[in-house]
């Protein structure tokens, strides 16, 4: 890993790979991930794509089979204690001691973290309306998630890593949680890496998106560039007989394509105008170009990868970041 990149990226992985003996295949396969300093990075992917495994390797909780990673300028596997001093970690569900009272747990964390800010934690607990006398195991899921976030922020970390933190939360609890995260980012300008299945949340919050699929990074791009550059083209073919030619067509920026009767739907990224011309040249009419949400893009990129449309496009997308 290049040392000159340490200033630009808060989190960086190079060829990060993890194989579990029982699985055989790599769960994370040569992952190159770059999280710019001060950004919110949305780490998305299907269940089992390798998000949590990647995050656990970043936290030094799992040792990579090959490749490496850095948090700031620190390798979490060589200097785990130093790396964890600068990172706040929120797992998918609170893993702290359920039998402890909130106040005891806060005291416990304070003893473990040299840079613990008790006053700030007290304020955050008050703002989140968390009773310090309550047992951790008795907290509602939303409150436990907020507590987990507060504990992760207690030592004022440079980097905040959230592993599906809003999973299973109701919409109100989720909004409250995300407000806390946004508040923390705005207050401190820290780097946030957040994996989530809620793509609407990621679209709202993330500056950069990384899409992992089957352990590989399919797409890594700035959110606004991704949303602005990825379009859905809906076209109607003149004749059903043209569908064979259309399905074989590979417009230069194709992500995914589907033909149903005379209806041809394509998702393209990059040169939309060029793609529209190519579609028109194949005898399509009523061509309509639509904006897409992150949710739509995610689905089409994954489908496109499965259909083999994406391979050449992937490198370009990664280069975009």
């Amino acid at each position: 890993m290049s040392s000159d990149s340490a200033g630009e990226f808060a989190i960086e992985t190079l060829g990060l790979t993890k194989r579990f003996k029982r699985h055989g295949a790599a769960v994370v396969d040569g992952l190159d991930l770059r999280v710019p300093r001060g950004s919110v990075y949305g780490f998305i992917g299907l269940n089992g794509a390798g998000k949590s495994t990647t995050i656990r390797m970043l936290m030094g909780l799992l040792r990579p089979t090959s490749g490496g990673c850095q948090l700031g300028s620190v390798d979490p596997h060589r200097e785990p204690v130093l790396a964890r001093r600068g990172v706040g970690y929120v797992p998918d569900r609170i893993t702290a001691y359920a039998w402890m009272r909130v106040s005891k747990l806060v005291g416990f964390c304070a003893a473990m973290q040299p840079r613990w800010d008790s006053a700030a934690v007290g304020q955050m607990l008050q703002r989140a309306r968390i009773d310090p006398a309550q047992r951790v195991g008795k907290l509602s899921k939303g409150t436990a998630a907020k507590l987990s976030l507060i504990l992760a922020l207690g030592h004022d970390p440079e980097i905040l890593i959230l592993d599906e933190p809003t999973d299973g939360l109701d919409p109100i609890a989720r909004d409250e949680f995300l407000e806390h995260v946004i508040g923390s980012v705005c207050d401190r300008g820290r780097t946030v890496m957040m994996s989530s299945h809620s793509l609407a949340d990621v679209q709202k919050m993330a500056d950069v998106i990384g899409l992992i699929h089957e352990g590989k990074m399919l797409l890594q791009a700035r959110t606004e560039e991704l949303l602005a550059g990825t379009k859905r083209i809906r076209a109607v073919l003149d004749d059903v007989s043209l569908s064979t030619a259309a399905s074989a067509a590979r417009p230069s920026a194709l992500v995914w394509s589907r033909i149903e009767g005379r209806q041809w739907t394509l998702t393209v990224r990059g040169s939309t105008g060029e793609s529209v011309e190519q579609v028109r040249a194949l005898g399509a009419k009523s061509i309509e170009v639509q904006d897409m949400t992150l949710d739509d893009i995610f689905r089409d990129v994954v489908r496109g990868h499965a259909a083999g449309h994406l391979e050449t496009h992937r490198r370009e997308a990664i280069a975009c970041s």
Partner: protein, 240 residues
């Protein structure tokens, strides 16, 4: 930091500590209940102390069965509950975490031994007073020291197996069960091996057929590798 970890580890051991305490006092309570029910209360202090000391010794032996549970809890419980992940995401060295667990398990395991030593001392003291002038001899065999060695080696083997298994799997119950089962199996295997060995082999090994040395050696041969391997795994584990 270390004291906070120690307090946390003691709290994790509380259920086993309570179970151990109950097992320890159970024989004494049962004895007192039976004594009160079937006979008139004795006015002689010495036989009562003797009986209570003996019951305490039995209590200690039963409570010793919880030693693998202490060790199993120390090694596996936090990983089963996933709180190990919480702890290891903090800037704490794994050596500190493992040392705290080991110290607490050791202290908890030593409790029956300390109580047992006091009970044994009391028993010996009272028994020596009673047997003065008597020709019935002492309750304690001459090779009590050797028996103590076997007992110590067996307890160490139980703790070692529980530590090793607990560092591999996330079930403290299974770790404790194997901690009890494996030393028993080792003792039985040693007994069978000793009975089948020819006198010549026994002589060459420099042991007695009915002596405790082979049993102690067999248990130590299990205990030491298990303790070392368990510690290495706990320190070098790739996931909490």
């Amino acid at each position: 930091m270390f004291m906070m970890l120690i307090r946390k580890d003691f709290h994790l051991q509380l259920p086993v500590l309570i179970a151990s305490g109950l097992l320890f006092i159970a024989p004494t309570i049962i004895y007192l209940i039976i004594d009160a029910a079937i006979s008139t209360p004795t006015t002689e202090q010495e036989p009562l102390i003797l009986a209570l000391s003996a019951m305490t010794m039995i209590g200690v032996l039963i409570a010793s069965l919880t030693i693998p549970a202490f060790v199993g809890v120390a090694a596996a419980r936090e990983r089963r509950e996933r709180s190990a992940e919480f702890l290891e995401a903090m800037p704490v060295r794994r050596l500190t975490i493992v040392t705290s667990r080991a110290v607490v398990a050791l202290v908890c395991s030593l409790m029956p031994a300390i109580v047992g030593t006091f009970a044994m001392a009391t028993l010996m003291w009272v028994e020596s007073g009673i047997s003065k002038g008597s020709e019935s001899g002492t309750l304690f065999p001459n090779d009590a020291g050797q028996l103590f060695l076997v007992g110590f080696a067996t307890v160490l083997a139980a703790a070692g197996v529980a530590w090793f298994v607990g560092s591999l799997i996330r079930s403290e119950v299974l770790a404790a069960a194997l901690g009890i089962g494996v030393p028993i199996a080792v003792a039985m295997a040693t007994s069978i091996a000793m009975s089948r060995m020819s006198d010549e082999v026994i002589y060459r090994l420099g042991i007695y057929r009915d002596g405790p040395e082979a049993y102690a050696f067999a248990q130590l041969a299990i205990a030491i590798p298990c303790l070392i391997a368990g510690t290495i795994i706990a320190l070098r584990r790739t996931s909490p």
